[in-house]
Symmetry: C2
Subunit: 530 residues, 2 copies
């Protein structure tokens, strides 16, 4: 079916505005049909109002219905078949294998949250029974669970057209929590957004979910972003993108008469520390892994390792030589869009101009900028320069990394102490290195959301123990992850009931534990009734 280019608001197609745009296909460098209608302010308001109206119904749906809805979304996405894969490849320039893998991850996430909701213990039910004869005061019966906060605005990520876009991790976790979602499409992949949104709307209709529980507004203007974030019905925002973009939304949200949280995952530079034992024993293998990691998806991951620290010496020289060779041999790759190509070029130029920084290697093959291609780049510098030049601590989105030669263990520690927040920190080391550099690792624990040992930070496992978040500027609220089951907690808040008859309470809090969830009963975890 041809793309219609319209907004999808509570199940209805709308195109009230006269402003349209086309997606540019990065690999061919040309605009592709159809015209997409940018949402107007009234359409944006309508989407938010519909979400607000749907909330009382949606939040009361049985967990089994919500779970089926999520599973049905996965099914409908799969049913889009090659049309979705082709369009996402066209719009992102990413290879079909990657997009197919991302689709699998997206469906996996939807099913994971379906499982979480069906099982039900995520609501963290807590029951403290009354003690009427307690002295000096009687103890009341208090019971608590987590409830959805209300309508959530989700901004599609440029670098994940499926897994962090229309039905990606933010949407899946918010819908799972019981929150209606209004998605703002990313103009770089508006057609992919339309296809996936159609699948979600279809799944809603088939699952008895109120249509207002999901809308997609298309466009690329700041006014609509602001309107969404400042709309009275909005209760929280999910965002994955740049620090600048995330901060803009954050600043809007905190200026509201009733501030709301913007859960922004704003990327990071992901320091890698290659400790002496590991460098000596398997420096070449680490260089190979590192090259694979910093060029994966052409370096367009928020977990791309963009800074590498090691003690100077012969082992590091060998490592650097190896990495330079691999970088030179790396073919240029197509970036997501011309804007990213431009920023990447500027980032590379800026690094080249920092005194004390050398460009150690670049892809030997020429890049065709009309095909949005960029050459991989590897820089080298020393610890003193790194400590002096803040520019080296800023994210360069794309296939580049900086190797920093450090003079001593204490310089490594000083560098670690000065780091801002990052999503990940990676350590390559032997067990002896771990012992010797325990102080360094202790510092890194306070700087990142995930510590990786003898592996690479790209490739984020979706599981209960994953933390994809970190101190500012990695994310806006370091208490939350955007990947894994715990991502649901961004969209929920506690609600206590005091003194209610058991049968008037939500099922999760009644005396008989009909859902067999884990509950904290008088301070002890149990699945029992009472």
């Amino acid at each position: 079916m041809p793309l219609h280019g319209k907004n999808i608001i509570a199940g209805e197609l709308t195109a009230l505005g006269s402003k349209t745009f086309r997606v540019y296909a990065p690999a061919s460098g040309g605009p592709v049909a159809p015209d997409f209608h940018e949402a107007t302010i009234p359409e944006t308001d309508a989407a938010m109002a519909a979400a607000g109206m749907a909330f009382p119904l949606y939040r009361k749906l049985p967990p089994a219905t919500v779970a089926s809805f999520l599973e049905k979304i996965a099914q409908e996405i799969e049913a889009l078949g090659p049309e979705l894969i082709d369009r996402a490849v066209l719009e992102s320039g990413l290879p079909p294998d990657r997009i197919t893998g991302e689709r699998a991850r997206t469906m996996g996430q939807l099913r994971m949250f379906a499982g979480l909701v069906r099982e039900g213990s995520w609501v963290d039910a807590r029951i403290d029974r009354a003690i009427p004869d307690r002295k000096p005061l009687p103890k009341p019966d208090v019971r608590r669970l987590l409830v959805p906060i209300g309508p959530v605005v989700v901004f599609c990520a440029t670098n994940f057209p499926l897994a962090f876009s229309v039905a990606g991790g933010d949407t899946a976790s918010a819908l799972a929590a019981g929150c209606p979602v209004v998605v703002k499409g990313n103009r770089a992949h508006a057609g992919t957004a339309e296809l996936v949104a159609t699948a979600v709307a279809k799944a809603a209709a088939a699952s008895g979910v109120p249509p207002g529980a999901f809308s997609l507004v298309q466009g690329a203007n700041h006014e609509i972003n602001q309107r969404l974030v400042r709309h009275p019905a909005a209760r929280a925002v999910g965002f994955t993108g740049s620090l600048r973009g995330g901060r803009e939304l954050f600043d809007q949200a905190v200026k509201r008469p009733d501030p709301i949280p913007v859960y922004a995952e704003m990327g990071s530079v992901n320091p890698v520390f290659v400790l002496p034992g590991a460098l000596r024993e398997r420096g070449e293998a680490i260089a190979e892994g590192l090259k694979g990691s910093f060029t994966l998806g052409n370096g367009q991951f928020c977990t791309k390792p963009g800074m590498v620290f090691a003690l100077e010496g012969e082992d590091l020289a060998k490592f650097t030589h190896k990495l330079a060779g691999l970088t030179t041999a790396q073919p240029p790759g197509t970036l997501l869009h011309q804007g990213i190509l431009k920023s990447f070029g500027e980032g590379v130029t800026a690094l080249t101009q920092v005194p004390g920084v050398q460009i150690a290697a670049q892809s030997a093959a020429a890049a065709d900028s009309s095909k949005t291609q960029a050459r991989a780049a590897m820089f080298a510098t020393d610890g003193g320069t790194f400590l002096k030049e803040h520019r080296l601590s800023e994210e360069v989105f794309g296939p580049s990394t900086v190797v920093v030669r450090c003079g001593s263990k204490s310089e490594l520690e000083k560098i670690a102490l000065g780091l801002e927040g990052h999503l990940t920190g990676t350590i390559h080391g032997t067990e002896a290195d771990l012992r010797e550099f325990a102080a360094l690792i202790a510092i890194l624990e306070t700087k990142v959301g995930r510590l990786v040992f003898n592996a690479f930070p790209t490739g984020v496992e979706v599981c209960p123990s994953m933390n994809h978040g970190g101190p500012w500027p990695a994310t806006s609220y370091s208490g939350y992850t955007s990947v894994g089951t715990a991502a649901i907690y961004r969209w929920a808040r506690p609600l206590s009931f005091q003194g209610f008859p058991s049968d008037q309470l939500p099922a999760e809090l009644q005396n008989k534990n009909v859902r067999r969830i884990w509950r904290t009963l008088d301070g002890k975890l149990t699945q029992e009734d009472f």
Copy 2:
């Protein structure tokens, strides 16, 4: 021992500033000795820097040490004996019984958090084991726990000189989480603050806790508040007080280059709905309970019921008559300080001037304003006026409440829909009322943090299931409570470890579950080793 009037910074007494102030005793209306030295900017910075330096040590202390420290604080507070009670009574104007009860609550909170830390499951440990032969990609070993975020700034609450001040719920939960704390004393009870801070410092010294883990800065100027909230070492803020005060701190914190959360509990008006069956069956008893609740602590609780809704008719007329009589008979009470007396007076006057609002009753006895006394006040109005006049939805801190006569069930629902966020919502009803007014209760669920059935919202039980928080403006982040064990989550964030050898991990994440905590192992809760 006489009070010294100095700041207590990392165990040292300091008085660098020349600016001093005295506490006014509200019941006598006079200033009392000694002079307190307002902290200077260098002293404020020193306290924050000491907290930052102490963090790496403090966060690595064994849980048993932290638990003993908290228990030792409780002991030292108790050891202050009548000196503490007398000073807190003098400074707050609250009766000795209340202060003694508050001291018991404060010690109870410290011991509760000690128990939580000693048991250890609060870190929400999650372990997903590796599956090296998974297709298409191997599954890595990922393990996650909650870790402390870093130094926390706590502002003492005016209305809880013990339970929400120097060693109150915010401090106890932050210290329990592993965060150093810098407390900003409240100028209304600086002597109480000094006594308690001395107890904390003593407990730290006796427990092997680095002195920088706790400091008290005294004073009353905004510059110091700002400095604390904007200090680079600060990672979060705890505050209990007015909307204006909380918003001010919030606005400072979000303007930082690296915004931090201000967990502000800013009070609320706590709507009470008296449903027809209950009004008919036990209207007089409810009136008695309500009078007790809105005048408890002279109405100086954030859970004070300040608005009461019921359907008009004979039963409501009887209820109103009864409540008016009780209010008239209520003796005037001493408020916490002259500033609160003034605001209360202004609030009462403002309500009197709203067209359609009648003052239904006031304490008959005269109030002595030189003793900071206020008369209880009860207002009456109708639903239409309430819907029109936002003034009626604003908190009046002190012994007052407004009874609103509503015309219909749908008017009650309309009023509920228009409510802002509140800490609590109370329903008095029969089981038949609950069924008939299910829609009203469903609305209230989205507006408050705690729903109370057939009881009153004052008197907040400290337990795992308590939620003392709610949608803005009740609190700044509705996902968190400031009372009960869950209060600890404000000061923690997840940290994942990927691929680490078991013996290099925090004890909570090692294969052998030495601490026997509950952990989520491959998605299942268990206390087992593996």
